[in-house]
Symmetry: C2
Subunit: 283 residues, 2 copies
DNA sequence: ATAATAGTGTCTATCAGACATTATCTG
DNA sequence: CAGATAATGTCTGATAGACACTATTAT
């Protein structure tokens, strides 16, 4: 129906759209709280693996448990904005890769009340110091080890180890069957709420996408060496890549800066430095 | 922290978790309504393209506009359940492919009140008659034409044409740049709310996944011929596939039933019939 | 027979996997 | 020099794109 003719169109109660909206009563539908939870990932200091930012909860429920940072969505912002705001509060960083992963709605996932959570994934190029936030007692980067059979989150300084074993389970959706990871806790400490499941979904999605969507570039500095970039791919995928194939794959996405520098502390040849080619990463 | 020791752990107000939860007050945070919107796609009668199920709105806002079916999520169900329930109400079908696509949160996307929507994609193997639902004045299958430059939704019987032109726009997220489709309305009639954007996101995601996740099998009957399956791939991708390459690609996922039958009405050789190989579609 | 559709054969370009070799740096 | 790391060369096998050809059916 034409947009302009809709202005005078009356519904079965004889109301125009304007009148309807003025009289609209949100009604008694129960509404959930909606939060964002953010996976903030970065490479560790020596480019050997991933780190994830966790906060320690200072109140019930899951008091003293480590959890993904997150917060409520406010009425006049998008979920993306809410996630970006939380990300900046936690790390001070703006303009970072931030992407919606999945929305978690299982009843009872928060013992307080009905809460659904929109999960986001953020990728940061370096690990800055983190300051504990309002509701958090503490905040820290954890080493993340995600394999086909287990997830380990550890922080040696704080002597914390959180470990889940993973079992693959076939799962059928119409004619299609997927493999899902089913976690079971293997350590004294655990992640709060359903945050393991969020972590699993986010890692699965990132692994599926990284070879095509170039998110690895978000895990290194804007000027990077190929050994650095390769370890970003390898850390996400959890498997080694052949150097030559890797370099062939990225060769048309990068430009040399002209300078050379050291990728590692120990000996060996220096690496050429590159930047991402302008407009070269679009799929 | 150990799970059992947490039972006695008191927060800064001196409350255990049990006491805290009992006294918990959801507070004055404003909460959004949460709905699911579902893209229900199927192949048209002669396997030449996709159809999408739309309902005609019987009340404000967007009265008389065509819209995606959907409904509110209730407190003790997952969003998936809510979507499956709506799908069954609308089509009578159960056990259909149904997958979460994206969650839409833009303020003002519903003029009534704060509403966020979790979008789902459903793929049905055949088009049954649809019965208009409670809040809907009408329901019908529309031909869907989604190209790089436009979206057309049409129903000849009802003489409805909804058309948007698409412009590709680069969009930068951290170090990564994507291409997004920006729709602009080109017809008298329009889709309700932000449902064009939902349609665009769902089609983008389906196109990215179909070659790896085998969703095309959900668009054909459990017994299918290769011409039928190929047209399902082609309808989704919006481009022709080479017959031989296509057949090589799917050859290890299917088993012959032994029978042969006609894929089309008009002349030509009969096609062999296949079924999806058991456990053969897992990625 | 002819047109239309189903199904197969084969060549090429590309690319990931795999491994070897050369180049450069530190000590 | 040795040991370590960076960078490149080359072979193989799998696969998508491209096109040609054979097989079967309706009219």
């Amino acid at each position: 129906m034409k947009t302009n003719s809709r202005a005078n169109r009356k519904n079965k109660d004889g109301l125009t759209e304007k009148q309807f909206l003025k009289a609209y009563n949100p009604g008694d539908y129960k509404r959930p709280s909606v939060t964002t939870d953010i996976l903030i990932l970065g490479m560790n200091e020596d480019h050997s693996g991933l780190k994830i930012l966790l906060i320690k909860r200072g109140n019930h429920p899951f008091i003293d448990c480590w959890a993904l940072p997150g917060g409520f969505i406010e009425e006049n912002e998008t979920a993306y904005r809410a996630a970006a705001r939380e990300l900046e509060e936690e790390t001070g960083l703006k303009g970072i890769y931030l992407d919606q992963v999945y929305t978690f709605t299982k009843p009872g996932r928060d013992p307080r009340t009905w809460v659904i959570s929109i999960a986001y994934l953020a990728l940061v190029p370096k690990l800055d110091e983190v300051k504990g936030c309002d509701d958090a007692e503490d905040a820290a980067w954890f080493d993340l080890n995600f394999t086909d059979t287990s997830i380990e989150l550890s922080n040696d300084e704080k002597d914390v180890l959180i470990k889940y074993s993973l079992k693959k389970e076939a799962f059928s959706n119409g004619a299609v069957t997927y493999e899902n990871y089913i976690p079971s806790l293997k350590s004294e400490e655990a992640l709060a709420f359903d945050h393991v499941e969020i972590l699993i979904e986010a890692m699965k999605k990132l692994r599926e996408q990284i070879l095509y969507n170039d998110q690895a570039f978000c895990l290194v500095d804007s000027k990077f060496t190929l050994p650095e970039l390769q370890s970003a791919y390898e850390a996400v995928l959890g498997r080694p890549l052949y150097k030559k194939s890797f370099r062939d794959m990225v060769s048309d996405k990068i430009t040399e800066t002209g300078t050379e520098r050291r990728s590692v502390i120990k000996g060996g040849r220096t690496s050429k430095e590159y930047v991402l080619k302008k407009g070269g990463s679009g799929s």
